[in-house]
Symmetry: C2
Subunit: 255 residues, 2 copies
Amino acid sequence: MSNAQMARSLFRLLKGCKNLASTPSEYPQPSACLPFTSSIVRTMVGLPFSFSFKPRDFSLPNSSWSAEMMRLYDYYNSLCEVETETGEKQRGPWRRLPSYNRTLKYATGGAYLSKLIQSKNRLFTRSIKTTGAAFEYVVFLNKEEQRTVCIFQAGYLLEGPPGHVHGGAIATMIDAVTGTHAAYDSGPLMTANLNIDYRSPITLGSTVLIESSLDKREGRKTFISCKVTSPDGSKLHTEAKVLFLSINVSHLLGM
Amino acid sequence: MSNAQMARSLFRLLKGCKNLASTPSEYPQPSACLPFTSSIVRTMVGLPFSFSFKPRDFSLPNSSWSAEMMRLYDYYNSLCEVETETGEKQRGPWRRLPSYNRTLKYATGGAYLSKLIQSKNRLFTRSIKTTGAAFEYVVFLNKEEQRTVCIFQAGYLLEGPPGHVHGGAIATMIDAVTGTHAAYDSGPLMTANLNIDYRSPITLGSTVLIESSLDKREGRKTFISCKVTSPDGSKLHTEAKVLFLSINVSHLLGM
């Protein structure tokens, strides 16, 4: 029985269970760590066997990625692991953030299982399966420098002005990248204000860099700056300031 | 030969033609009236026959629309036509705006045909074919009162926080609705600034109202306000101010 088959059997077994557990993703996705739904109830599900169900990690390269996208990916990926003087490999300053299309914890053995597993709901930026059609992106985090870099390739389903990316798709990526950054920095939060200046349009199919940096934290507030540029930084496409508010989800986690 | 067959024959006939024409949609879609691509060349295509090719109008009801969505649609639709004292029907204060998934002019006889017809590009808010999965919406315009109302039902592919609409999907709808409004008021333009305050999350699958109103015009600038509320207006979900800049596209139209 393959892992996938075991997972399917498990889901069938649990189909009648009302109180499947909700858990934040191990790697919180943009805003995905905000369980507003107060009715979500945590339940421990004891499994009679171990299983491993690996969801697709959308941050890994696929055949739709352009040479430019791959070049940038390889560059930042190479910074995720460095070699010491003695030839040993150790963690570098950057870290690639995995990205899934729903709030689902990779489970082994006794596990929390989200009732969202059975839901049709999908993360907006990862909801289209066809590779290259919509949002192709990968986010790298540099925790020490408090900044992220996202390599983003805009697909043909994101059109606004003819041949160019829709302003809403750019806003979506800015919210996603800054939200991921803020969540790694400050834990569960929600977007409170999104202020975007559009400077120059982005050609559909092109690759751009979305960079975010932490401005400051004040109590529950986290302020993040963001800019979208051409890969070499010579052309500024978009600038944004985003404010996030930390939220308390401990009651949802039974704490 | 059906209209669709005639259209297909025509496209095959024109397949080798490099300089197919570009034309703004008869009903400009959000930001879709901004042909940034300077290489687009206008060419008059003289057809040997008349044909009528009607693209799907996404603003019309489909089976995924909730009872709430239909109720609101019927209400605003009823305001698009009024009956005079003598029993005659005439245009009302509101107008339903058709909505397509690409920049394509409905052509009869000699016509402009966009090279975008052959493109895979699709308008971001209309790029998912499955009804009910993503953005279901219809925009009504009241030109005299300088305002629009959009009825929006958020599908399961727009998830951000578990069970709720992604901030980027809300930003997308705000850009789309205010962009449509501004374009009807001021002609071709581009979004320059989008400033959004998120007040309370929107449940996935629910229906909300997105209302925009013209604040002022100053030279090339058009200022639009927008709010997203529950259908009865009792709950404020989101507020926004959007600035648009008029652009000159006459050189693209050979004027």
